[in-house]
Subunit: 488 residues, 2 copies
């Protein structure tokens, strides 16, 4: 990105064309939450959205929001959860290197945040989906979404489901997914509060006064530049850098060429604009990693790497499987499943049923299958023998897979080829305080600048749980709006 | 680091107390190389060193310099190498995400760089060490130092040893290691060229003029601040951030609490000072990882993880084993070796002999050993059975270990516990051009600012080879000196 616009512009050189108390860049989940809270605090807010309508990547997502500590939905469905258990799980599963202060306030504020979303018009169905899967098949409101009920976490931290999903709505020709059903009420709320929304309007530069305070932005709409003064603060909320090739190469090369669950406007621009002012970043290498396989199949089979070895508990959150595959196994993975388990999986419900395509290999013996796949002679056989020996006793001492999924692998036996079947989005970005102030590398906030969502490093460092991005984006987006409205 | 000094200082507010054409911060290998080349180009150079003498982490290191493409030493010892093979290996082994342009110029300039070092007074012994090890035992001049002659690289890229080591010198009570024997002549050269060296002098801030050009530094010596004008340029060469807890937590948490092969003044300050001006960084998560075990033992045994599975070819560069252990296995590793191989290893020479402490467990059977270590029942037995079956035929289809190291594991059999036996230093830092200009996030160089060594991202992204840091530090240090002297 060598167009020079990333350099901050001096306020002395600007003729303002518009102004507001708070300028929000990006109308995905973080920007909408920021705009709402800034407006509710009495600020005059203008929100810029690069695309022709609001919603961002959030509106196209499944809609998971990671919440817990005893939300009304958890309680209604009979699940015990506590703030402490939620903290323990997030610190164990989303690291190493997590921002502990951020996780603390996130967990402590989670019950209130759920109520806030409901108050904003987001509807959660009082139903639970307990089967393996990426998403619940009928818009159920609650699901495990981070491996809480799987090894190694379930041995030490009492599990609770924390993936909260907005209820889907039937529309002509299908239904609206959870992400849309999250963003629709939030965007309506933005409008109802009188926030001015400027679409097809892309932030280009930050404007800084002589004291280094961010006092506005330059944006562009249909080729025309605007200079919008922000009397109190600017909130950056333009999403990840999953679609910027240079940034991926320099920071997260493992997903070069394979962005997923992201949108093309995620070009990392807000991160770079912040860095141009000396902002610190964190965990720029971290990525969510999806693996394109039905979890109903994975849980019933075993996953092996290019050496025919198991490497992860197959009944955990599929995003953990994706990370283990791409980050630790160089992207090499195969699902091994016998005919009986395959047939059983086909009878289950899953939103990932399109990932159940016919197995690539089907053989009468494990030895044949091993040869067909091209695994080292004896490797898969040894793995299956060891797995079967323990599975017959209902145990998995290697990875702690739960007994309900443990059954010796029989014949005929089949395999899916998952090489190249991973993709993801970036989790790193601007380093922010718990009040969503953007931190300078010297450790102090940059005056007038706030950020939230995937242009920031949030509650995740190395690990991931579905709902963590909509969760911290909306939670710290709200805080960005509150902070910006109170500044100046 | 919240003392405010990282904020750039305006030249308008400065009263200069000293000046030079080029100011170099840090007198390790990169700073010394920069000072030499700037002075040779006719610049008046002042070099600031935080400690009481020059040398930095380089002087305390083993002294490997990664060079190839047919250096005089390689040719004298009968090794064929080519620039293309060197490029291919570095791009395959040091990624993903390597800076290809940087590797290209590095490989193309490697033969000349070797000659330059020799011309500067660095002596390389015309001898080769071909045994597994971290360093050669007698100051031999050449050794494999990146896994070139091991799987998977040796199957496709003709291997050549590229670890060049300065000859050690006998001194009273022992001998000087290679790193000292590299830095001594370079520092003498610095002095001979008339570079002014200021010790106990630590850079505090960069000074910037109204156009954003770096025109000097503020430094501190024994509590007194100095403002040193740089008529042409400033070169940052103050080393890694392995000793800054916050930066490690935010970028490379895998080595939190376990810095190695680094020095306490490696606080990342140059990276932060660059970032305060909007500099880009790259691969801040990347780390070298040492594993504290004698490679003579590892090559003769097998390495297994907490599931009793092998995970790496045991005869490769031990730094690759360290990375595989810490990054992919959560730091869990055990060496399994039978009595005969153990006895054989004890007869070999190794600089890592102090890492041969008595094995933690010795048993009469693999099954007993597995139980003693606490590995899952049957796991290590299955691994050894599979390994032995192939080793009897002289093959290792899982990881490609060379036949010379393949022998079925017999009994009695022992194990070393390598959990917690890893440590390392950081490889990420400022993003620079092939001419060592520091790049702004907008993609253009920051005028007047140059950097080299481990405060920059060099030829390594994810992977590592011993000698890559002294190699790119000295190579791009020279380029920083040339560029700074030519600027202004």
């Amino acid at each position: 990105m060598n167009d020079g616009t990333l350099m901050p512009v001096s306020a002395a050189e600007i003729e303002w064309t518009d102004e507001a108390d708070v300028v929000v860049a990006g109308l995905g989940v973080a920007g909408a939450a920021a705009a709402i809270e800034a407006a509710r605090a009495g600020a005059d807010v203008v929100a810029l959205e690069r695309l022709g309508g609001g919603g961002g990547a959030a509106a196209m997502s499944g809609g998971f929001i990671y919440l817990g500590g005893g939300t009304a939905l958890q309680r209604a469905l009979g699940f015990d959860d506590s703030v402490e258990n939620m903290k323990s799980f997030m610190k164990a599963a989303l690291g190493p290197g997590v921002d502990e202060a951020k996780i603390d306030v996130y967990c402590e504020g989670s019950v209130e945040h759920y109520d806030w979303l409901v108050g904003a018009g987001v509807v959660f169905d009082e139903s639970f989906w307990g089967e393996p899967g990426w998403e619940p098949p009928h818009g159920e409101g609650l699901m495990y979404s981070g491996g809480e009920n799987a090894a190694p976490f379930n041995a030490t931290i009492p599990p609770a489901p924390r993936g909260h999903l907005p209820r889907r709505a039937a529309v002509t020709g299908g239904e609206q997914a959870g992400g849309y059903m999250l963003m629709k009420p939030l965007l309506d709320f933005v409008d109802d509060l009188g926030v001015r929304t400027l679409y097809d309007n892309s932030i280009r530069s930050l404007v800084v006064d002589d004291d280094g305070r961010v006092v506005g932005v330059v944006s562009r709409s249909f080729g025309n530049d605007m200079a919008i003064r922000a009397r109190r603060g600017v909130v950056l909320a333009t999403g990840s850098f999953a679609y910027d090739d240079t940034m991926l190469h320099d920071h997260a090369p493992q997903i070069e060429g394979r962005p997923a669950a992201s949108i093309e406007s995620h070009d990392g621009r807000s991160i770079l604009m912040g860095q141009a002012l000396g902002a610190a970043t964190a965990h720029m290498d971290a990525t969510e990693v999806a693996i394109f396989c039905d979890p109903q199949l994975m849980a019933r089979g075993i996953l092996v790497n290019g050496q025919g070895q198991r490497f992860v508990t197959e009944d955990t959150y599929p995003g953990r499987i994706g990370q283990a595959t791409l980050l630790n196994q160089g992207g090499e993975a195969f699902v091994i499943i016998d005919e009986a388990s395959y047939e059983e999986a086909l009878t289950t419900e899953s939103t990932s049923a399109m990932m159940r395509a016919t197995p690539k290999w089907v053989c009468e013996s494990v030895g044949e299958l091993e040869a067909e796949i091209g695994l080292p002679t004896g490797s898969l056989s040894a793995t299956v023998d060891l797995y079967n020996m323990h599975a017959a006793n209902g145990t998995d001492p290697l990875f702690g897979k739960k007994s309900q999924w443990l059954k010796p692998i029989s014949t005929p036996v089949a395999a899916y080829d998952l090489r190249g079947m991973t993709g993801g989005f970036t989790l790193g970005g601007l380093k922010t305080t718990v009040d969503s102030e953007v931190l300078h590398v010297s450790g102090v906030p940059i005056p007038g600048l706030y950020a939230a969502g995937r242009c920031t490093s949030g509650v995740c460092a190395g690990g991931y749980a579905s709902g963590a991005s909509l969760g911290d984006g909306s939670f710290f987006g709200r805080r960005a709006g509150v902070s910006a409205a109170a500044a100046g």
